[in-house]
């Protein structure tokens, strides 16, 4: 019985030691990370925020992101940071506010017998679909072998209800949990969307 207990304690100690090693900080050791330069990330999307443009309500969607490392040693030489450029495609469906606001006429044409007939309306409130095409700068901080975080400012074009184009600034804060050197769980919060996905690193 005592020997079993000793073995359990020994196993726990080995586990604790290995976890401690994995969690050891790498942020002060530039380049102490896998030599990956491309990240491919399919993800699920959700947001509580109204989208840019005329859409409204919370939204859900799917998308993907490809990030390409352009600076292996980032802006701060003394820490383990890097910079990537990311491009993505995200499809979102927004629920709408449920309340159709009274629309306003934005264009009138000359009708029969000199009358004026409204031919274009601007109205908010209904469900809407968006296609986002974000381009971002991803500033990564490699904290430990298991965790890295990043900030991601950028710009996104959006295609609204398959009819109209617009542009919006985007800003994300994210983190990765590294299952292995090549596979991570990647999470992002920010505007216009939150995401959770799996990243493949090459």
């Amino acid at each position: 019985m005592l020997s079993v207990a000793r073995r359990l304690v020994a196993c726990a100690a080995v586990l604790a030691w290995s976890r401690g090693a994995a969690a050891q900080s790498t942020i002060l050791h530039p380049s102490e990370r896998p030599a990956d330069s491309i990240e491919l990330e399919p993800h699920l999307l959700a947001t509580p925020f109204n989208p840019p443009g005329d859409g409204s309500g919370a939204g859900f969607g799917v998308g993907g992101r490809a990030s390409f490392e352009v600076v292996r040693h980032g802006f701060v030489p003394s820490i383990n940071d890097s910079v990537s450029v990311g491009v993505g495609i995200d499809f979102m469906r927004y629920q709408g506010s449920g309340v159709f606001s009274p629309g306003v006429c934005t264009r009138t044409a000359t009708g029969p017998a000199g009358t004026g007939v409204c031919v274009e309306v601007s109205q908010r409130g209904g469900p809407s679909a968006y296609l986002f095409l974000p381009v971002t700068m991803q500033w990564n901080f490699w904290l430990t072998r298991q965790w890295s975080v990043f900030g991601e400012p950028g710009l996104s074009l959006y295609w609204f209800d398959y009819r109209a184009l617009g542009a919006s600034p985007v800003l994300f804060l994210g983190g990765r949990f590294h299952f292995t050197d090549r596979l991570t769980l990647t999470m992002r919060v920010g505007y216009p969307t939150f995401s959770i996905g799996v990243s493949l690193l090459f």
Binding site: V71, F100, M137, G154, L155, D161, R163
Partner: protein
């Protein structure tokens, strides 16, 4: 040098994004879903995010209006003034207002009733009916059929400004009867 260049590019992109127009044009009723605007003190206009909307604008204090693409139905009533525009294959109804002004495409079915002034421009293959109106102005841009009942001034103009054929006491046609 390279990081500085990146920072400069990012800053420029952010500045450009702030300056870029973030607006998009109309949104509105969903195709296949009933969509109404009523009981308002001022104007109300309904758009349509696609084809096939079913729009109803009524009991407003200002101007009531609907705008749609193809295959839509629109009803407008009990307002001072109605404006309706749509593409092909639409069904427009306007009644109990002071004036109705409409533009519709080919294959339009238009009805205007109990209105001092009805005015519509309709495409080929359209059927127009004005009932109990002081004046009904119709412009057909193709073959059409117009019926005016209890309308002292039924003014029908065909393509190119030509007059219509009289088919019966109340019915006129651009093209064959």
């Amino acid at each position: 040098m390279r990081p500085r260049l990146l920072i400069a590019c990012t800053a420029a992109a952010l500045l450009a994004s702030v300056a870029a127009p973030g607006c998009a044009p109309s949104e509105g009723c969903d195709p296949g879903q009933p969509c109404a605007c009523s009981d308002l003190g001022g104007d109300c206009f309904l758009g349509c995010a696609g084809d096939g909307c079913s729009q109803d604008c009524h009991n407003v204090g200002g101007r009531c209006g609907t705008v749609c693409n193809n295959g839509c139905s629109s009803s407008c009533h009990d307002a001072p003034d109605c404006s309706q525009s749509c593409g092909d294959g639409c069904n427009l109804d306007c009644h109990n207002v002071m004036s109705c002004e409409s533009i519709c495409g080919d294959g339009c079915t238009y009805s205007c009733e109990d209105v001092p002034r009805c005015a519509v421009r309709a495409g080929a293959g359209s059927t127009i009916r004005c009932t109990s109106a002081a004046e009904c102005d119709v412009e057909c841009t193709g073959d059409c059929r117009v019926t005016c009942s209890d309308v002292p001034a039924c003014n029908v103009t065909c393509l190119g400004g030509a007059g219509p054929m009289s088919c019966s006491g109340e019915t006129f046609a651009c093209g064959a009867c």
